[in-house]
Assembly symmetry: none
Homo-oligomer: 206 residues x 4
DNA sequence: CATGAATGAGGGTTCATTCAT
DNA sequence: AATGAATGAACCCTCATTCAT
């Protein structure tokens, strides 16, 4: 089916863009890896850049965060933990698109830059709500919300952007993605939770 | 002088690589911006990639950290604060090379990847020493050292990689690097210090 | 109806070929402007070149000239004037196909070249007859018939091929086809008639 | 030498553009026929279109006309005859560039269109002067100067644009450029002179 | 009849690099 | 030391056409 093929191309592009960067990936690479005629990329997406846009919009569907926020049965602490779990899982299972978004900020295309910024802003707003809610309930203390979110995202990013570094640090064989994920995911979750608890807990002494 | 010209080319390349990425920058771009004959780049550096290597080695001279560690008059807390100040200043005044290093992890060149990993490891070791020292002195509690360093680096990275995002968040006009730096630097320093204190303080309740 | 659609495609192709040339017009352009599925062009005409052939044959139906020649009630001068009127009107109301025929002589396709030559020859024969008839009747003097016809066709062609030039000369706003036609048509007719009279009149002194 | 090579490329392009049209000629064709590396075209001219511009400007050096006009020892009739000789020789020895200019009016590039128009206007002005001078001296009668020039140019154009047609007419073997030139040139000159004399002579009866 | 999908060939251009001078 | 010229490979994209449905 046509939609399947489109999907397949996008998935292939995601992997390659994630590994080699946008400029480092040629349309020929994508066509070859996807076992698809070169002209199909233009046919389906119009251009290489339009394909990246499609990719970003396609993968940026983080509606779960919004659902999480609406769940009033959860305490702010539970929400924080779930956000950590969600993001870590999301990114660790989706290293590529995350890499792409990081690189995307450096794209020469204004369209891409704005798209990435838009996606980030949307996600940020959801986390911000959680923290503000916790502050209103006198559970979280006053912190720099923007940079706190930056800390969460940045810490996770490090493990994907500097993957080689961490693989070396933890003695994981290079290019074994599965092993890396298994080793890092629990460490990352527990580190972030511990970090955020210490950081946000209103009872923590400064 | 020849050395000056080499330097000038490297500085130009740094800016362009930082802004547009390695693949997004052509040797012609560099030659033109540096007002230098195209063939000079190959002449001086051998190849585009060799130039990136030269750039990384040239800029990665973080000997200050080692000096910091040897200063026994400072308490671990003071050292942590100084590391934060040092890194934030370093990166904020050197956005380009930092961007390049982040991208470098995704380079298709194994040489570059290893070089970047090596630089990161060297820096990491210094910070690790500080934390272990604090733990030995019963001032810092037990934390995941690797990821704690990742948090510091990642948080700072966020502000450079996702610069557009934070510029939008803080209402800073795009492309005004100076304004961005002035606004972010103090916020970043204080956020990281507060974060690390809560995270590392052995008296903090868990 | 199918015939209507074929006609519609041909009309669209005529306009585009006339404006942008054969090579400068893509089948996609035609399909899009004609609001017709891309594959229909091949379906109806077999190929792009076959479509041009169809176009030429379809538009080259200059039977009127033959009728004119058979009308024995007209003097050679009247016939000349009518030929001028006929051709000027024909070409001025049909700039596109005329452009196409001019370009067609430069086509890489032998089929097209021969088709264009054939059409031109057929028209030429009719005019030749008129001139010879006038000469036989001692009304026209001896002239180079081939080049005299070339002068008529060439003069008219100039006003379509070098339209921009003449528009500039006569202060007609570019792209206003209607204004151009209105301005040029009467000037062209009267110029050609005057020219031919002086040229052909046996009483004219050399 | 570099200038020679540039010249050689231009000459090759002129032939191919003249034969197959601008769109009908690929940069690869030119490179191959000129025995030159493909990238040289961009290297020397920047782009295919820029090359056409260079070609037009390079060939449009009709300064002789201006010299002719300044020669006060010639009568208007002599000037007219010389213009005819000049143009016929010029075009017959330079079929390609003339074809190109004709096609250029239909170019999709505004730059090219304007360049062609500019060249034509410059040439037109010179001929116009001759005719007006003859009219002032009561030698030429009142005619439509613009279209008279159009007649001269158009008649000559016909013999190049409709070359196949005239070759068929005069029984000249196709693709024998030399034979065509030899046959047509004198006929064309004498036809045009006769035509213009009859057209312009103030003593000619209307 | 009609169409969306697909294809291989070729389009113009730019790349990093090297060579002769 | 320095450079203009040159190169072959690769870039993204569009072409006219065909095919299965």
């Amino acid at each position: 089916m046509a939609a399947d093929k489109r999907e397949h191309i996008l998935a292939t592009a995601e992997k390659l863009f994630g590994d080699n960067g946008f400029d480092g990936t040629s349309v020929r690479d994508i066509a070859q890896h996807a076992n698809v005629n070169l002209a199909m990329i233009s046919y389906y997406f119009g251009s290489k850049e339009k394909m990246l846009e499609a990719l970003l919009e396609h993968r940026a569907n983080y509606t779960i965060l919004e659902a999480l926020n609406k769940d009033e049965s959860l305490t702010p602490w539970e929400k924080v933990d779930r956000v950590v779990d969600f993001y870590v899982d999301k990114i660790m299972n989706n290293l590529c698109i995350h890499n792409i978004m990081m690189q995307g900020s450096n794209s020469r295309s204004e369209v891409i830059k704005e798209l990435v910024t838009k996606i980030k802003l949307r996600n940020f707003e959801q986390i911000k709500k959680i923290i503000i809610d916790g502050q209103k309930k006198k559970i979280f203390r006053k912190v720099d919300i923007e940079l706190t979110v930056g800390t969460v995202m940045g810490t996770i990013s490090q493990t994907t952007l500097a993957r080689n570094f961490y693989a070396a640090l933890f003695n994981i064989e290079k290019d074994n993605e599965e092993a890396y994920r298994k080793k890092i995911t629990p460490k990352l979750k527990s580190h972030l939770k511990q970090l955020l608890h210490a950081h946000l807990d209103i009872n923590s002494e400064e």
